[in-house]
């Protein structure tokens, strides 16, 4: 099987539980109004199970929502070459400006972070769920469940998370741990950026000196087609 990504150490790092999530959930609970107190109007009809089944395609990190099925890395390579590689590159390296889906390990704190399935996605479900909803671009929701498992398995292989014998299925899904699972934390702006709540912002002589440090014109990437207009106000 072809694979020419430079040796990317599969970062078997920390898989921190998403403890911070509890904060948001607690907040959601504390403010939750009593929905039973809201008047109902008898509008709408019952959604039938067969109707729901056609649209209910989301998958959660715990595997809830996974369909029956399975796919191997090898099968995934064939599907990927036919349906994905034109945009994402044969090795997930990206063709043109389309998203790179492999590599980037260790780059997140650098000046050129590369966010891929291997370097950034915290959960395998995020990959599977997205491909199931939106890929291939322009032919959404056309893949079989086995193809979804196979493509996901191949993406894991491209990112050195599984070996080339791996078969992804509803049963093996939970065995896959993503390298960056511990890389996310809840929004902490209201504490980490408390300094921005400033009761007395400076009004006069706030800086000794003001120098221009950068010009957009030097970079020259603004679309050229429209000349600026003279104001009338």
């Amino acid at each position: 099987m072809s694979k020419s990504l430079s040796a990317v150490a599969a970062c078997i790092g920390a898989f921190a539980l998403v403890a911070s999530l509890l904060v948001m959930q607690a907040a959601a609970q504390s403010k939750k109004p009593e929905v039973k107190a809201i008047k109902t109007y008898g509008i709408g009809r019952v959604a039938e199970p067969r109707e729901i089944a056609g649209w209910d395609i989301d998958v959660r990190p715990d595997g809830q929502g996974l369909p029956d099925g399975k796919g191997s890395v090898k099968e995934g390579e064939a599907v990927f070459m036919g349906k994905c590689a034109a945009c994402h590159g044969e090795f997930g390296e990206s063709a043109g400006r389309w998203p790179q889906v492999a590599g980037g390990t260790g780059s997140l704190a650098s000046d050129d972070p590369v966010k891929t399935v291997g370097s950034y996605f915290p959960y395998l479900s995020s990959v599977f769920d997205y491909v199931r909803h939106a890929m291939p671009f322009g032919d959404a929701q056309s893949l079989t469940d086995d193809e979804l498992y196979a493509i996901t398995a191949y993406l894991l292989f491209l990112n050195d998370i599984v070996d080339d014998k791996f078969v992804l299925s509803k049963q093996t899904f939970a065995t896959v741990k993503m390298p960056n699972a511990g890389g996310f934390r809840d929004d902490d702006r209201e504490t980490a950026e408390r300094v921005f709540w400033n009761p007395k912002p400076c009004m006069t002589n706030c800086k000794a000196d003001v120098k221009i440090t950068g010009h957009a014109r030097v970079i020259d990437v603004t679309p050229e087609d429209k000349a600026p207009r003279r104001g009338v106000e």
Binding site: K31, I43, G44, A140, F196, N198, P201, A216, I219, R229
Partner: protein
Amino acid sequence: MTDKQSLSRRALLAGAAGAGGALLAGDAARAGDPKNLPPNVPAWTRTLGDGVAVRPYGQPSKFEKHVIRRDVQWLTASRESSVSFTPLHELDGIITPSGLCFERHHGGIAEIDPDDYRLMVHGLVDRPLMFTLEDLKRFPRVNRVYFLECAANSGMEWRGAQLNGCQYTHGMVHCVEYTGVPLKLLLAEAGLKANAKWILAEGADSAAMGRSIPLAKALDDCLVAYRMNGEMLRPEQGYPARLVVPGWEGNVWIKWLRRIKVGDEPWYAREETSKYTDLMPDGSARKFTFVMDAKSVITSPSPQLQLGHKGFTVISGLAWSGRGKIRRVDVSLDGGRNWREARIDGLVLDKACVRFYAETEWTGQELLLQSRAIDETGYVQPSKAELRKIRGTNSIYHNNGIQTWRVAPNGEVENVEVS
């Protein structure tokens, strides 16, 4: 803009660059055609114009053709998953005309026949329900004005001044009046299970965009809107129904809304993990950064709308905050050394844009224009340096740093960064 006007204005600008401020006093392009000026009587006064209903859906004047959304083609691989920007520099007041509201699509515009529209509410509910568009319109409805800002607005400016125009630096925001049904009424209609904590909102477009939203927000002020500025939603904005999530990043305002699923945990969809998470300097990322911080921008003058005269000058801009009302906006003419309070004119609404003005006498000196929004929670819009000190430059999202425009003595305006 007609070709003739465009040419003459370009020529004027070329001339202005060489002749300094001299041309500011005499604007040849604005002088008009003598045959239409007093004492002559122009054709539009002597002859009949179009009658009623010749223009059954009215369009802007043919002289306003330059007032359009624009995109930056190098930004994205395709126009179906891309963005176009609101021409903020051409607008005033707080309401964005529906056809000028910026677009952000992940799989192009879904064109949905309203008869075939369905909204499904299911998951941890007592009764999974299906609503038609007519069903949604039967519920009690409300009218609310809210801003909508893409989390990536100003995202190209994290590493420095890059795009020369507020349309490009700040044009992923709009503010319109929505008519719709409070989401809590739909959830109450279905009945929530005791363990319900989150909802998944999902679109019917070819990205089937989905985002997790805490139930508390869903039951607070979210709407399922079907009208904007009185008329039905534009296709680009999610016709026939979209989610309105006041004060929160635009990505969660799911367009072409087809499904609300109630759950006990978030889903961690691609758009809340791989995208719309904020990468910090240490390589970790903030997630669920829903609220849009207070922000403002001067829209006139700005690089696409230069100063055309000396003397009395109105500086104008927009401010907004996802945490509530704007309390105050300050303006600086000297790059943030000194500030003065701007005059807010018009409505000051919760999680909506406000319009501010600062009047000054411009004598032709260099200006370094800045604006600084302060919201009702006391949050003060930070400088770009203050923001980068905490968030670094890899965040992409949530750049609400203070913008600087340099006004040159000849009236040209440029996006710059200052110390």
